[in-house]
Symmetry: C2
Subunit: 204 residues, 2 copies
DNA sequence: GGAGCTATTATACGCTTGAATAATAGCGAC
DNA sequence: GTCGCTATTATTCAAGCGTATAATAGCTCC
């Protein structure tokens, strides 16, 4: 009866590994296939450990969702430069890895489908969506101001909603069936569309 | 030991009921919660019957997905009138029940999340997406022609991709968090955005 | 280098799952 | 009516689920 050897992971690290393993399993096998045992295997530990770090599997999954939302929005937020560059980058980032990736959209969809079922996930979604849209709205407002075009808050809001929808939709379709599009086609369409939507070229 | 009474359903009807029950369960409890037993309860039969109509639960779920795709696209196809009216209706229909409904998007997302996992679902998705986009592209082409504007096939394709993304994205966000938008706001944004994208007003 | 703490393993439990099988009852044909 | 077909029910099964508990071994500290 040889007990397998292991090492005690440093503070917080194992938690992170478990969350990452959870996401791997969800993207590969779906929410159904992301069982405690499968997740443990992926993380290289035994199943019992999950309950040492999380109150329940559901709680772990919820935290994993937070991680997804964070990864989808953080890249977009940390863009620097003048307003035009930032707006351009904000859009482009959604069509570049790691955001533009079938794993990302698969995770996103898996959680979205649970939003109606699970109030905890619904709240996480809501926060994430609003954060994303508000960032975009602010970016847009600054861009228009820099271009010397006055735009009411409501106008910015409507533009932000439209662009957000456009980017989300193209992102989903691109990730799900990337082979239906030519290289760089989506980002090119997205950029041209945004220019059409706001009626201005996005140049530096 | 009283055996419960039942009636033998006419040709194909029971099948349809089972598929509908499957969709109900997926939208209410998620793919995980859509168990054979739960589906049977919803359909008012016992669990064993499922395997009388389908080779496996997975096969039933795949057929249910076909039904979802069909319901999402059929409303959009059967629009009549002049090109402008048809284009307008095609877009509007996505923001009107039953398409614009949290159940619809919940189902859509549940299946999307499995597209990476299950090749059968992937193929169904692909077909559905292409059918939708091609319909839109054709509609667009006719509309532009009626307006006397020449547009290359490639131009139409790019417009169709953009509009499809826009509509999809707005549809998802609207269904998931409808309370974030005012009444009729989304369809109004969608319509204005499409006009901006193609650079023409959509009027009869 | 031994003691103490706790992260980790190992095992077991009760429940649900999808599926297989056998018994039964609805219903059309005659 | 009742016979025969099969749609439907009822029951059972093995596998896998999330969770609970107890034993163990890796580290830190002295």
């Amino acid at each position: 009866m040889n007990r397998r050897t292991f090492h005690r992971a440093p503070e917080g690290e194992r938690r992170q590994e478990l969350i990452e393993a959870t996401l791997d399993c969800i993207s590969e096998f779906g929410l159904k296939g992301a069982t405690v045992r499968q997740i443990a295997i992926r993380a290289g530990v035994t199943a019992g450990l999950v309950r040492h770090y999380f109150d329940s599997k559901d709680q772990m999954v919820a935290e994993a969702y937070r991680a997804v939302i964070a990864s989808l929005t953080e890249k977009a937020k940390n863009v620097e430069g003048d307003p035009a560059t930032r707006l351009k980058e904000f859009i482009a980032v959604n069509f570049t890895e790691p955001v533009a990736d079938s794993r990302s959209v698969s995770l996103w969809a898996a959680f979205i489908s649970q939003v109606r079922v699970d109030p905890v996930l619904a709240e996480i979604h809501r926060e994430g969506y609003l954060a994303f849209r508000n960032t975009l709205q602010e970016l847009l407002s600054e861009f228009l101001a820099a271009k010397g075009r006055t735009a009411s808050a409501d106008e910015c809001r409507r533009h932000a909603i439209a662009i957000n929808g456009l980017v989300d939709g193209l992102w989903v379709e691109g990730c799900l069936a990337g082979d239906l599009f030519r290289d760089g086609e989506l980002v090119s369409i997205a950029m041209a569309s945004v220019e059409a939507l706001i009626g201005l070229p996005i140049e530096n």
